[in-house]
C-alpha cells in the first residue's frame, strides 16, 4: 500500500516538473515534438533509476561510514556525471538500437536537476533501497507524463496565430502554467 501512495503522490500530486519545478530545462527545451519528448523520457527514466540506486549505496556505504555526509553534493554530482558517461558507453556496445534512440539525450541529462534533485530527496525522505527505486521510477514516470502531454500541446500550438511578443518561450510558460493548474486538481487524493 505504501508503495502505491509513493507512486500516486510522485506521478500526480507532487509532479516533479509541474509541482516541484525540477527538470524544467529539458521540459522547455525538448518539448517541441512528441517523438523527442518520448526519447528524452526514456533516457531520464533509465538514468534516474540507476542514479537512485548508486547514490543510495554511496550514501550508506561510503559517506555515512566515513562521516563525510557534507560531501554529498560534490560526491553525487560526480557520480551522476560519470554514470551518464558510463551508461552511454555501455549502451553503445550492448544495444546500438537503444543507443540510437536515446543517444543525443544522454549528455543533456548530467545537468538535468531532476536527477540530482531526486537523489537528494531520497536522503531527505529517509527511504530504504526498495522505496528509493520505486520513488525514482515514479518520478521518472511523472516527468514523462508532463513532458509528453506538454509536447502534444506545443505541437498544436504551432498552428495558433499568436501576438508577436508571446511567441516561443512566453506562451510555452503560460501553457505550462495552465497544465500545472490542471495537475493541482489531484491535490488531496493521497
Amino acid at each position: 500500500m505504501e508503495y502505491i501512495i509513493i507512486i500516486i503522490s510522485a506521478v500526480f500530486v507532487n509532479n516533479i516538473v509541474l509541482a516541484q519545478f525540477l527538470g524544467i530545462c529539458p521540459f522547455l527545451g525538448v518539448s517541441s515534438k512528441v517523438e523527442t519528448a518520448i526519447g528524452m523520457s526514456g533516457a531520464v527514466t533509465f538514468v534516474m533509476t540507476i542514479a537512485a540506486i548508486v547514490t543510495y549505496l554511496i550514501m550508506h556505504y561510503v559517506l555515512i561510514p566515513l562521516e563525510i555526509g557534507y560531501m554529498q553534493t560534490v560526491a553525487y554530482i560526480l557520480v551522476i556525471a560519470s554514470l551518464v558517461q558510463m551508461v552511454e558507453i555501455i549502451l553503445k556496445k550492448v544495444s546500438p538500437a537503444l543507443y540510437q534512440a536515446l543517444g543525443v539525450f544522454l549528455p543533456l541529462i548530467t545537468t538535468n536537476c531532476a536527477i540530482l534533485g531526486v537523489a537528494i530527496l531520497l536522503v531527505q525522505k529517509e527511504f530504504n533501497l526498495l522505496e528509493s527505486v520505486v520513488f525514482a521510477i515514479a518520478n521518472a514516470v511523472g516527468f514523462a507524463l508532463a513532458l509528453i502531454v506538454f509536447a502534444g500541446i506545443r505541437e498544436s500550438l504551432d498552428l495558433v496565430d499568436l501576438p508577436k511578443g508571446m511567441k516561443g518561450a512566453p506562451i510555452a510558460l503560460v501553457v505550462a502554467g495552465i497544465l500545472a493548474l490542471a495537475f493541482m486538481g489531484f491535490a488531496g487524493i493521497v
Binding site: L18, F21, Y70, I77, L78, N112, C113, I120, G177, M184
Partner: protein
Amino acid sequence: MSQLTNFTKGFVKENPVFVLLLGMCPTLGTTTSAVNGLGMGLATTFVLVMANVVISLVKNVIPAKVRIPSYIVIIASFVTMVDLSMAGFLPALHAQLGLFIPLIVVNCIVLGRAEAFASKNTVGSSLIDGLGMGLGFSFALTLLGAVRELLGSGKVFGLSIYPDTYGMLVFILAPGAFIALGYLTAIMNRLAKK
C-alpha cells in the same frame, strides 16, 4: 568590450532568465516572495563569482579533456560552502529555499559562464562577468518574486500594499510561477528589442 558593458549585459540584453532561459528551476521554484527570490539570487551570485574567479585562475593548468568535471567539482565545493553557511547563519531562509541550494550545482548559468567566459578570459573580467550575470539573475528572481508576492498576497518584501483577502492565491502556488514568468518574459523581450 569595455568592463562596463561586460557588467551590464547580464541585466537586460543577456539576462540569464528572461533572454537566455537558463536556470529555470530555481527561478520558478524559489520565487514565492521577493525576499526568497533575492536570497536565491545572491546565493547563486556568490557561487558564480567565486567559480568564475577560480576557474579563470586555473584554466591553464587543467587539461582540456577533463575540464568539465573539474569545473563541476570547483562549483560543487562553493555550493557546499553556501549550503552549510546558509544553514548556520540564515536557517529560516535555508529552510524556504531547501532543495534548490544544493541544486545550484546543476544550474546551467554557472557551468555555462565557466565554459563560455571564465575559461577564456582574465581573472578581472571573469569576476565582473560573474558579478554582472549573478546580479542580473538576482534581479530577475527578485522581480518575479515581487510580482508573485504582490498578486498572490498583496505584499512586496513583506510590506502590505493591499489587503491579502483580495490576493490571488494561485500566484503563490506552482501554476502562478509559470504564468507570471511567461508574461514577464514577453514584456522583457519587448523591452530588449527596443
